[in-house]
Amino acid sequence: MRAEVQAAPFIDREEAQRARNAKLERIGRWVLPIAIMILAIWLWDRLCVWYEIPQYILPRPGVVASTLVSDAPLLFTSLLVTLKITLLSLLLAVVGGVGLAVLFTQSKWVEMSFFPFAIVLQVTPIVAIFPLINIYVDNQTAKLLICSWIVAFFPILSNTTLGLNSVDRNLIDLFRLNGASRWQQLRFLRLPAAMPYFLGGLKIAGGLSLIGAVVAEFVAGASGQSSGLASRIIEAGYRLNAPRLFAALILISAAGIVIFLVLTLVSHLILRRWHESALSAER
């Protein structure tokens, strides 16, 4: 009896049940989506066969996969172009968003004066703005960057502004009491306090910068000026090259997923030590 107790610490039934559920949930989180995905691909393949759908309308998954391999040099070069725009515009969105947010929190007047403009930029569809940019800007990369930046910077700006302003009043008093300068208050108090908000905005902006880049390429690509993935899709569409179209589409989604996962990981690593929402996500 005693040996038994030592061998396995006694856990009551409820706790055991909870542990089992947690374990099942952890497995399910990965296994279920993958299973559904495999099922969907299989169904897709079967549909093509059962209804004898021609390849230029709906290619079988196997064909798409082999296109992905055979067209790899072309597709991956284009992916790289798109990714370059995406990451660069994300970087600029971080710099611009955080910079503007810091500027806004330095003075209520600045915020009041300029925040509406940020909103105007945000709510106007980028597709409608692009022709203007096309007129004013010559450099191809700059055009795409501006577009993608406009789409991506707003969540960072608004989240960071919110974060910088949502500092514990008592902590601000404590800083004042200790004669902290404006810079010290920003560096030691406001920026760290805004970190979770900023990271939330960054996650959204990551996805948006990809969307911004692709949309910009679409609009630019229509006039044959782009070499990104979007132009591959347009091209393939003209030529009824559905397998390549699907392959390009898959690459874009994959890029989006990877960006999202990387940013989630980054924010998890940064917040792991202190932020509550990161903690509850762990559980």
Binding site: D168, N178, F188, P192, A193, H275
Partner: protein, 260 residues
Amino acid sequence: MTTEVAARHEPLLQLREIGKTFANGVTALKAASLTVREGDFLSLLGPSGCGKSTALRIIAGLSSPTAGVLDWRKSLDKDHIGFVFQEPTLMPWANVFDNVWLPLRLKGKSRTEAAPAIHELLERVHLSGFEKAMPRELSGGMKMRASIARALVTRPRLLLMDEPFAALDEITRFRLNEDLLDLWQDQRFTVTFVTHSVFESVYLSNRIVVMAARPGRVFRELAVDAPYPRAEAFRTSPEYAALCRQASQVLADAMHAEGR
């Protein structure tokens, strides 16, 4: 010895006819006068809304009075004030050491320069070994201890505390009361302590200023003549009971006098 005792009872600051009316028209303080003496453990006792926090913030220079004067009798600068809030208000992204380091860091002291003072204080508040702990890993009492260490790390002459133990359970509160008294006797700073617990104010202070609300004002002052050190036994002594009864009576009078 006698000169030192005398020095310990010289006025440190005086509030003379201090008034505070907020922009929304609320008069938080009206003609409040009181003297804080060097070495005092002075409690501000009163019902909610009588302007205790307001008075403390005015003393700290975080808020300016609309009327009256705040007279510092000894040249003190802001370095010499420590403030403890009702909540521990630690920075959640920094560990205990960094939180306590903050006031010194803001004054340009490097980590290594500040380290001896921080370690010593953490030991005094019984947090040795928790330097690396994050605030969320600490109990409420431990957080408050860290908060007290942070307030004392600059070696303030005057420690202002705004209901620091109100959110803690009784056992923890008693323990922190004792530890605070120990620190106070050891390091000889002056304390102005806001509370609405009669028992706490009698246990801790040598003087109690009872305040009344609507409008907030000083109602009466009480001396608590029981000698220090006051150990746990003091809480069960008849003397303590009598003092508490007396203070309760004054507080009841103060609340009765409200609105007149």
